[in-house]
Symmetry: C2
Subunit: 343 residues, 2 copies
């Protein structure tokens, strides 16, 4: 990656990402970088400049509450025991370049998805001492980035014990580019819900109508993007890989925001030649699952491979992308092209 220096002028740890836009920083992982056992490079998606908040940063809780709060990381940690949750986060625009017609917006390919261990305090432990008014419907989360990024969560999801205010990512303080020092983590939802640089939480009895709730991150009018659709990513073979004829080792990840992945099928070539892959034990309720398959590819030349995940609710990946004007939620079956060498 010749782009490391451009990317991490901040002196933060270098990771293996491809820059989509340097300012404000947007970067995704190439599929090869995601073919790792657990801790993978993590995409970065920012709408504005990354705020450098420092360790003492505090967030406020207000709106329809009995008690307004102001908490820094230390005060947050004192509220309740911390939990660590493995969460797959996917950018809602991941796969946008595969939509036709091509929508406007960042041209994400396939790597705006990753999994990390997030450690934090359940959001419910913060809401409890604030005491929500009886008519509260939603919690609205504001980031400290200049543009007032804000997203709403329905009360039920906000109270899920796995919805965290996180202060650690993979065992270390959350880097600024990933929303540190404090980031909301909403497992199972596309990543725009996991508001970075958490600055303010507002309880409200009326639906929030901020621009990132009603104009951006929507499938259409009145249809905000929410939970992540079921999807599989092939990490082996890689696009354009050259492999020996015979047994082909296939591997990848599958995830779904609304239920456990229960099946991944793979197919060499077009048509309906699907074969069931093996699923490894889940990394956690909200994390992607490794799938593996061994297929035979005897004919030399260019070959195609697809993978299709299905979750416990029966949701599966559509064969073609569902189009929407802003290009969100593409979970269509993807095609990887590789080459079988002559024996």
């Amino acid at each position: 990656m010749g782009q490391r220096n451009e990317l991490f002028a901040t002196g933060e740890e270098v990771t293996d990402l491809e820059v989509v836009k340097p300012v404000p920083l947007n970067a995704e992982a190439p599929a090869r970088a995601l073919d790792a056992p657990f801790t993978s490079p993590h995409f970065v998606r920012t709408n504005f400049d990354i705020p450098q908040l420092g360790e003492g940063h505090a967030f406020e809780v207000g709106g329809a509450v009995a008690n307004r709060l102001r908490l820094d990381t230390e005060a947050l940690r004192a509220l309740a025991p911390s939990r660590t949750v493995a969460v797959t986060l996917e950018c809602a625009g991941n796969g946008r370049t595969a939509l036709a017609p091509l929508p406007e917006g960042e041209p994400w390919e396939r790597g705006a998805v990753s999994t990390a261990q997030w450690r934090g305090v359940p959001l419910s432990a913060v809401l409890s001492p604030a005491v929500l008014r009886d008519d509260v419907q939603e919690l609205v989360f504001f980031g400290a980035d200049g543009g007032e990024f804000a997203r709403a969560l329905p009360l039920e999801k906000a109270l899920d014990p796995d919805t965290l205010i996180a202060f650690e990512m993979n065992g270390k303080p959350i880097p600024a580019r990933h929303g540190g020092p404090l980031r909301l983590i909403v497992p199972g939802w596309y990543a725009m819900a996991s508001v970075k640089w958490l600055a303010r939480i507002e309880a409200t009895a009326v639906p929030f109508e901020g621009q990132f709730q009603t104009e951006r991150y929507v499938y259409g009018p009145g249809a905000p993007v929410t939970s992540a659709r079921v999807k599989a990513l092939i990490t082996s073979p890689l696009e354009d890989a050259r492999v020996a004829p015979g047994e082909l080792e296939v591997a990848g990840w599958a995830w779904s925001g609304s239920a456990e992945v229960v099946s991944v099928e793979v197919a060499v070539g077009g048509g309906d030649s699907w074969v069931e892959a093996e699923l490894e034990a889940p990394l956690g309720r909200w994390a992607w699952r490794r799938f593996r398959a061994r297929l035979r590819v005897d004919a030399p030349g260019r070959q195609t491979l697809r993978a299709r995940a299905t979750d416990a609710r029966g949701a599966t990946q559509p064969p073609a992308p569902g189009w929407n004007a802003l290009g969100y939620g593409n979970n269509a079956v993807e095609v990887v092209t590789f080459h079988v060498r002559q024996a």
Copy 2:
């Protein structure tokens, strides 16, 4: 291309192709190889082994004719003056890998299209001495490849003065892999109509129902693939190119089987920001047209580029591929992704 040796064990001239399948040989040109002024590498598409026929090969004319003929190249050339026609040939399956769901069939990407100067005798000069019966509707052309590849042409297209029985490609005898020594050339139609290794022409009063007419190379029942749909190919910038910020030189080819290309628009990014490109003088009535544009790309990072051709009949490229079970005729607007360096 590490695949040259695999490809051209025949000792024929090496060209810059990527193998899709070595046996029977199928290969396409990478876009970079098509960014040339005129004589580009030419894709190879075979359904069976390539016959090695030798110079003395003759073809027959029979069926509903008054006079049966048998002609070798020398006899063919004696029949009428030769003509040279620049013809863009595109495989009907070109772009198949962009269709979703992925159909069965060779996984062509974008390079199963090229242009060559074909020299030959008009087919009409062969049909004239054979004397067609009054009720003849179609001519059927059989290849000498083992599998009896055969395709029909309506009489009107067969009599077009630019429909040739060709013996030279780009000034030299036609290589075996491109159908030599004698190949039918049907300008404006997808390349399956330009039957290679011409062995027999049969005049018929009833519609031909061979497998390559009714089961393969069809959009559906009763809908054989015929003329090539309007389409543009971007050859510069190439996929994944890294370019300097500022002025971007865009170039490519546009073609249409049914009418002259009269407009190519290009767009950076998604949405509807189309800009008219300049068209160079046509290489000929049946050949692709070079387009060029200068655009500005100032924002560093990943960018997308599209091109959209329109022909004199008003036909234009659809924003998304039209799907059919065998994956033919994909002329949707394509997306090239490139990277703008930081200044």
